[in-house]
Amino acid sequence: MISILRSIWFTFLHAFHKRETQGYPEKKPYLPPRYRGRIILSRDPDGKERCVACNLCAAACPVDCIALQAANDYNERRYPLFFRINFSRCIFCGFCEEACPTYAIQLIPDFEMGEYDRQNMVYEKENLLISGEGKYHGYNFYKVAGVDMGVKGIGKGENEEPPVDLKDLIH
């Protein structure tokens, strides 16, 4: 009986507490830099697409909302022919960003993605690709990979010896 009255009293006291409500959209909330919001595709320092269409984001996606197709350009460089995210399915878990070996896919502090038509939630590559490097600067996957895809020649990488000369008898 006392405890009932006590709880009524304490509930009443809450009338004089500070409000927890955020004043969105008049007052924008603070979003930390690693907030998992809108998904974007970024570019290399030299301005080319970072995504190498390795499919790891799609494989990591727990709701399977990423679909892409790999293609090769004239330098044999791998890039996504199309890259589609169905945001009406996305749960913003950030696994795609975790899985990405090239920093291409990134979740940024922006959540204002509402649409009136569900079809508009389907983002293609042109809706995802930004013109900068996003959160991670200076990384270019092809500079450290062992392949020649028009970025650096074989054996020209930072951690590579020049190619073996097969006709050379001395080594």
Partner: protein
Amino acid sequence: MEVIMVKIQIDGTFYEVNPDKNLLHTCLALGFDIPYFCFHPALGSVGACRMCAVKKFANADDKKGRIVMSCMEPVTDGLIISTSDPDIKVFRAAVIESLMTNHPHDCPICDEGGECHLQDMTVMSGHNYRRFVFKKRTYSNQYLGPFIHHEMNRCIQCYRCVRFYRDYAGGRDLAVSGSANHVYFGRQTEGALESEFSGNLIEVCPTGVFTDKTLKEHYTRKWDMTYAPSICIQCSAGCNITVGERYGSVRRILSRYNGAVNGYFLCDRGRFGYLSTNSPERIKGIMVRDPQENIQKEISRDGYLSVINSAIIGKKIAGIGSPVASLEANFALEAMVGRENFYHGIDGEKFDLERTAIQILKNSSVHSPSLKEIERSDAVLILGEDPAISAPMIALAVRQASRNRSIRMAAKSGIPSWNDAAVRELAQKIKSPVFIATPLTTSLDDLAELRYNSPTSDIARLGSVISSIIDKIEPLSAGSDKSLNDIAQRIAGVLMDAENPVIITGLQHNDKKVLQAAANITAALHHNGKKPSISIIFPECNSLGLALMEGGSLDNLFEVILQGDVETLIILENDLYKRADKKKVDSIFKKCKNVIVLDSLLNETSKQADILLPSGTFAESTGTIVSSEGRGQRYYRVLPVNGHIKDSWKHISEMIEITGISKDLHWEHFDDIVASFTDSYPFFSKIREIIPGSEFRFFNEKIARQTIRFSGRTAMNANDSVSEPKPPGDDDSPLSFSMEGYKGVPPSDLVSYYWSPGWNSVQATNKYMDEPYGSAKGGNPGVLLFDHKT
């Protein structure tokens, strides 16, 4: 041959095992996960990579033990080993770390990524972080032709590629060069690989050095493809394949293990011949010839109904089947037009030959060998057929057969057959006898103990002389040709010495006498107490199946049409211009008012059609075909029904339904037509009894066509509509078009893809068989239609 089993102890448990195999093989067969690179069940062991270390103990009291390479360790009675000793773990981790020192940072763009044996083994051995701080060695790559992409930096020097390419498949243009840290696997100069088995490098290579260039054009990860078990339709060998599909197009073909047929391998024609299914030339809609403009135009379904009614109702119809179409499609057509109006769609000469071949297979007291049996034979006579062209995998089997003498020699010296390098070192050039009598040179010539290149008439004569010698009767006309007689004597002598000789012949050169001569030789050997077998290579994937059905030849049809009462002609997946003289074919097209063609691609015949129906290729239909061996095998569709493209038998069934020409014929599902077919041809009843029908469930589940990690389900169709469609159903097979279904090891006929926890690469195949390179779990796929005779 009875094998005396021995008892060994692995990790404290006793097992009864076959002592003929090496320890690694035995452990893998028992289900232990031991990492390995250079070992391949079909290639044997060389002990190059040092990954498969296990600890061997001298006796039960020995606690210290010593590390041995399990692939080089014979299985002996009382052997005690540990596969998980801490010392081994340290050892394996050290080995994989050193193998990885030069491996590039490529996985995201590597086509092997996700199905890479190196990735699997690295994870299995516990190597995580790179400590090597020095520079990586690099190599330049080579252009190796349109099928194989070369990326040499990824090599870990396991030597599997050259061992397969040179030692197993007899190729000469891929080799190893350099030494120490500069070992290079490639050609002397850039250029296309010459071997017809080069595609297997993709599966043999444990990492991404050799990858599929055709896949690269529309690259899809292993887990993202929808797979279906299928049968190669490029030749009559009946190799088992797996077809991978994504976004509605076929992406690649991998070999599907059939211990009796192709084993782990496939020829390049089978592996890379799939691109036509994605061709822009594909017929997609129902086309009808516009009489005014004389061109084919796509029409609506309503238009089709009226056109087909006027073309069929009350008309005299003839049907032309096809040796590349399934039994069910041919049967549907035969049932529709009536047995007396059904023609096989091959010219009279071939037709006649096939009848002869069937007589041989049916009546002969010897049986038709599987590829595995050819591999095991100790003498091969190839008579008037080049298997390297007509059925390359049979040629590969012959190549393995040629090693049997050296294996026997090694056994005498105490070298087990799996000790590959030692056996080859001992054998040098010694080979089992292979005799090749063909009009032209073949790629098997390097194996031949004796070659006889001569016209087929001479070859037929040689054959008959051999059989007379074996039967010890005076040859009819040998006296005139002494050299031929000598050759025949020598071949006959070797065949008589052999335990289980194989005679390989075929229909390649259209010579009936060659066939008969081959049959006579086998019969003669059989009379003399040998265990011979005869392999007759048929020209097309279902030639044998079609030949076992009733019906006339194309020449018969021409006569009937020229007599002039056939008004409607239905042609099933058959380009007549490739079968007969152009003038003749033109004349029958002129004669027949309505030509209905079911085909998948535009060709000369389908261009002549008045009504053209889009039939499905092997990737878009389900059916049963019969290989040269007499093995009935089923291929399953990998693409769901899409628009008008569907199985030919479904088109025919629909025609019957629309026109109402027969009330009795109605096939809703694939099982219905199989039942109807086997009722009509009791010879094929085994197909229905043995190959699982669509009602089949494994642990109450269908079998999934998609892997458990199939990605993008909720996005791949989202560009069309954000509302996701229900996965297509499949009433024709026990397979499902989604990732839902049984995920373990299904019956071998229904294996869509190979995967096992920790084994993402094709090496997971070994988990799907009784023992590595043994028979598939639950028996090899397919059903033998002819009784096995010894």
